[in-house]
């Protein structure tokens, strides 16, 4: 039986999936996705090239463009830009709250997004990653800058642990991850902050 974490908070039996911090430049490179367990309701994960699985992500960037699509099944697609690239986000009728939020936000605006990334393969073999939103909230620049720091730290932590965890090993094997490339990405993202 799992005892409580000493000196910390005891853990629930079923834990909510934490929202990982990942730059668009890294999420774009992800290909591996899998389901943990046999059940239909088991969580699905994307394996990040820096070696961590994520079921949910938290990102803050600039909403640059939004588009309403569909007739009976109305949904929104939008682009959110961070210092390293673009996230493609969407919210449909199964995410009514996020959809209403996007509808009310005028681009451009800083937004904080919580959502689940999905990998899609097009018939011609291209891979698309889109984030199905749980919430999209307009925020200020301070929150965006704070996120860049948070995401930079999380990415560097993953690079430092690359190859030392089962997911880290798998990432090295599947993606042949070059840590220097991702360090450079982090460096450039941080450099834009100080400007």
């Amino acid at each position: 039986m799992a005892g409580p974490a000493r000196g910390g908070f005891p853990r629930r039996e079923f834990e909510r999936e934490p929202a990982r911090r990942v730059f668009a430049g890294e999420l774009r490179e992800s290909r591996i996705h899998f389901r943990e367990g046999e059940d239909e309701k088991s969580p699905t994960y994307i394996l990040l090239p820096t070696g961590e699985r994520c079921n949910r992500i938290f990102l803050v960037g600039t909403l640059t463009e939004k588009k309403k699509q569909g007739e009976q099944n109305l949904f929104y697609r939008a682009r959110v830009v961070d210092p390293t690239g673009t996230f493609f986000i969407m919210a449909g009728s199964y995410q009514p709250e996020a959809m209403q939020q996007i509808a009310r936000i005028e681009s451009p605006a800083f937004v904080a997004v919580v959502g689940k990334p999905n990998v899609y393969e097009t018939p011609d073999g291209a891979v698309l990653i889109s984030v199905r939103c749980e919430s999209v909230t307009a925020v200020d620049k301070d929150t965006r800058d704070r996120w860049v720091l948070d995401c930079a730290k999380a990415t560097l932590d993953r690079i430092d642990a690359l190859g030392t965890t089962p997911d880290g090993e798998r990432a090295v094997q599947e993606y042949k991850t070059d840590p220097a490339l991702f360090r450079k990405m982090v460096y450039e993202a941080l450099s834009q902050l100080s400007l």
Binding site: F58, S135, K153, L156, V186
Partner: protein, 407 residues
Amino acid sequence: MDYSDTADRISQKVKAKGHEADPAKIEGKLRRLVEEFGVPPAEAERTVMSEIAREFSLNGLGTAAGEEKSLNSLLPGEWATVEAKVVSLTSAPSPAIAQSGILADTTGAIRFVVWTKANAPILEDGKWYRFESAVVDEYRGSVNLKIHSGTVIREISRDTVLSPRVTPIADLVPGIGSVKAKVIQEWDVTHDRMLQSGLLADETGTMKFVIWKEEGREQLVPGKVYSLYYAVVDEYSGRYSLNLNSATVVPEEGDIPVSSGDTRFTGALVHIAPGSGLIKRCPVEGCNRVLSRQNYCPVHEIQPGFNYDLRIKGWLDDGKVTREVLIQREVTEQLTGMSIEQARELAENNPLGMDEVFLRVRDRILGRYLSCTGREIDFRMLVNSCDLLPFNAEETASLLNRAGGSS
């Protein structure tokens, strides 16, 4: 009969002392003693054990008949002979149990159970006994001694004074523990049979305590310091609590420094749950439950008069773990800049009613970085102070160094 388990156990113990013992050979010896000579299995185990101990001149393996073990060396699944003092008797929870309580010696303490079927003599609190061939078992994660019909009990005279070792609260594990702690909170009694419950604290942490109604049991005084000897540390779904019914309670003079039990957690607010914002509470004295939209209290039914409250239920996430937080009125007012009066006015004058308050609260703090301080209760962090985390330019420099460093 199968002897391999016993043989394995013996060879493990010998191995732990740095010698090799062949389980097959041990098994042969056991089989011979039991099947050819009619020795009871427990006695056979002891005999083989002591033979090996002599062979390798080992001490401490001593399970030879007549040689007893200390309480802190007992392992589940063993048969044991111990000499110990009854330091506490608790009411037996079932007719199958004649007596239960706590035994102690100079090395530690252990819970014990005397089966009704054992026909054992009644044990008296404060007396020393020798228990031959009792069974060591595990119950709810802690070691426990079972006294059955094969156990030989003899009262012995000892004048050893036992001074139980006091454990810091943060280091308690399920079983028996003694603490020196201060009563920092008294909680509402939630059960007819409960005498008192609340929170104990020392310098290292806090733990819930409970005392059940029983003759001779008295309530603790909030704010006072006590030495509590031989309390039972229970575990329930990952959380520990102290049952004081078995404990010897000694009031102490003066005060001790205590941990507030508060922890700090920093992360992004990634979700605000329904039931956040302006809510209505049941006005019945002592109820305070949240009313549904129809002003319905699950216990007191429709309540036309009600009290407003303002709160945030949500999830704070640092990218590694996510924690449920419950932010109460004052902190919610300070975070959102909306007082409960403003929230009430907004709700009463807006077509969306209380939903409008929810939406405004959400738009002001969802997705923001917060640093919260509070106490954990039932897996939730009860937040008593919370601040928006500002952007820190110095961190940029150190992260740039990290990223540009060893590439």
